[in-house]
Structure formats: structure tokens, C-alpha cells
Symmetry: C2
């Protein structure tokens, strides 16, 4: 990852061997396939994000505080990663798009945790009438700019913990199975 950050380019096993000045066979002992190298990079990238999620899930906060921390802590890490080195951050974003399957299990784990948070919120009467999958999809969409690396980079200064907290509050106070007439039944008329 240091090589990737220094050169601003993806790292293969061949380049890694050249960089380390060792035989390719030695690198292949550790990473039998190129995929094993991507796996290792993905694991390193996600490790701190998983750590903060685990920490929040193990806490005894009330649902609203817990969901806020669940997103806010990851957001702060992503924002810090981006601000420390925007070029490398964007390279990871591109790699994440190209090798999405390597990130799949981490994203699934995040969704699994979010389902737990939804169950805790519903036990207290929030998110009424929504099935868990729909609630999960809606919440992920509403906070997307705070957890999607591409959007964190693009919106940067326009994102803040204060705004995220207000969005989480809107999820708890206003999100349920009824749209209150937003879609309506009649077509629009000119005023």
C-alpha cells in the first residue's frame, strides 16, 4: 500500500517483487494469486472501519445515538483518509469499483449490523411498518454521501457531523411506511 500511495498506481505482484528487491516466487508464497494481493489490500482498507463499527455495535447507546455513531465514525475515517491524500483516496475508490467483489463481504457485514440497529429502533416504535430490507435500503440511500467514498471525496466540505445528525433524526422522526401523500394519485396541474 505504501508503494501504491507513492506511485499513485495499482500494485501487482510483479511490481511488488521489483520494489522489494526479492524474487517473484517469494511474493507468490505470500500471495499465490493476484486476487490474494487485492484481498489483503481490501482487508487493510476496511480494518479501521470495521473496528469502529464493532465498537459502536458493542455499546449500550439508545438506537438514535447508536445509528448516528455507526455512520459518523466511518464518515470521519473516510474524510480523514481523503484529506490526508486525495490522489491515493481516489485511486482506492477506482480500485473499489473495479474489484468490487473483494469488498462485498465487508459491505454485507455493514448491512448486517444496520439490520440489528433497525430491529433495535423498531423495538422502540421507530421506522413503523417498514420491513427490514426496505428500511435498510432507505437508510443507506439517505446517508449515502457520508459512507460512499466517491461522494465523501466529491462533497467534502459540504458534509458535516451536524448535518448527518439531522438526517439520522429525520430517519427516526419521519421515516416509516407511509409517504403522507408525497406520491399522490392525481397528476400535476398548472397553477
Amino acid at each position: 500500500m505504501a508503494l501504491l500511495e507513492r506511485t499513485g498506481e495499482e500494485v501487482t505482484r510483479t511490481r511488488l517483487a521489483a520494489e522489494l528487491g526479492v524474487a517473484r516466487s517469494r511474493v507468490e508464497t505470500v500471495f499465490p494469486e493476484d486476487g490474494d494481493l487485492f484481498d489483503a489490500i481490501t482487508a487493510e482498507w476496511f480494518a479501521p472501519k470495521l473496528a469502529v463499527m464493532d465498537e459502536v455495535m458493542a455499546s449500550d447507546l439508545p438506537p438514535r445515538r447508536k445509528m448516528y455513531e455507526f455512520f459518523a465514525r466511518r464518515f470521519r475515517l473516510l474524510r480523514q483518509n481523503f484529506r490526508d491524500d486525495p490522489a491515493t483516496f481516489n485511486l482506492y475508490v477506482e480500485m473499489g469499483e473495479r474489484y468490487f467483489e473483494y469488498a462485498r463481504s465487508y459491505i454485507d457485514l455493514g448491512d448486517h449490523y444496520l439490520c440489528e440497529l433497525i430491529a433495535e429502533a423498531q423495538a422502540e416504535g421507530f421506522l413503523e411498518g417498514l420491513d427490514v430490507d426496505t428500511a435498510m435500503s432507505l437508510i443507506n440511500q439517505m446517508v449515502l454521501c457520508y459512507i460512499q467514498p466517491y461522494m465523501v471525496a466529491m462533497l467534502n466540505e459540504r458534509l458535516s457531523e451536524e448535518k448527518l445528525a439531522l438526517i439520522v433524526a429525520a430517519i427516526f422522526d419521519g421515516l416509516n411506511a407511509k409517504d403522507g401523500g408525497a406520491r399522490g394519485t392525481q397528476d400535476i396541474r398548472a397553477a
Copy 2:
């Protein structure tokens, strides 16, 4: 734009002249600078989106319905553009990132309209205590996946009018200047 769609590549004035079998000077009469060509492409891309926004703004719908239609009609156009031709759509997205300044005035107009919708909502007691700029930023963030072309392409099947209506309802029923304790003051404790 037909040339761009057929070749999957950006069009310059030189390529356009070659394609049309006319002298470059003839193309330069219409587009004195390359920027004039980008301007024209941007205008064509935004024209149908502006038309639906104008139509909604001219209607006499109640605020919640109006805000839903404001986003839903653009979302449907973007989704249709993407599904009709994903490769061309992604090319426009990339061009939009590279030549962002050409799109600026259209995005500003959308924000200007959204401010009107916020004023109408606040006149009926919604979005309480939020200044217009903060409300605009929060709402744009909450519906981002439905209006940001890159996210419309990426999320595709996971986006729906039903979900957008529930998000708009959460904006009206749950978004205001209070986070209800989401941020809290104390740090998290282990359970």
C-alpha cells in the same frame, strides 16, 4: 451527440467536421471555441430536465407533493437515459465531471427552485428552524442517489419512486433544526 453516442468517445470540433464532411471553418462558424460545443451539449442534456422542473414549479401542488415531483420526474428521465444506453450515459457522467463548470448554471437553477420549495414548505410549518441554505444542503444530500447521474447508474434497480416518496415524507415529517439527541454529549460506553 449522435456521433458521441455511436463512437462512445468525446467529440471535438475537428472530429465533428470530419464526420459531417465539411470544412472545419464551417463548424467554427457555429462553435467558435471548443467550449461552445461543450456548452451546446450541456444545454441539450439538461433541456428535458429543466422542462420537467419548470412544469413542477408552475403547478399548484401542496409542498410535499411538489417536492416529490420535483425530484421524481428528473429521476425518471435519468433512469431512462441510463437504461436506454448505459455506455453513453457513463460517458456523459465522466464529461460532466471533467467539464463541471459548464453544468454549474443548471445546477444553480435547480438549487434556486429547491429554495422556493423550501420556503413553501416552511410557510406550512415544515423544516422548522432550518435556514434555507442548510435545508437545501440536507435535502440534496438525502435524495442524492435520485438526482446524481453517477449514483443513478450505480444503484439502478435499488432506486424506486416508492422509496423516493418515503424519503420525501421523512424530510417533511422528521427534518428540522433539532437532532433529538443523535449526536449526544457523552462518549459511547461498552455494553
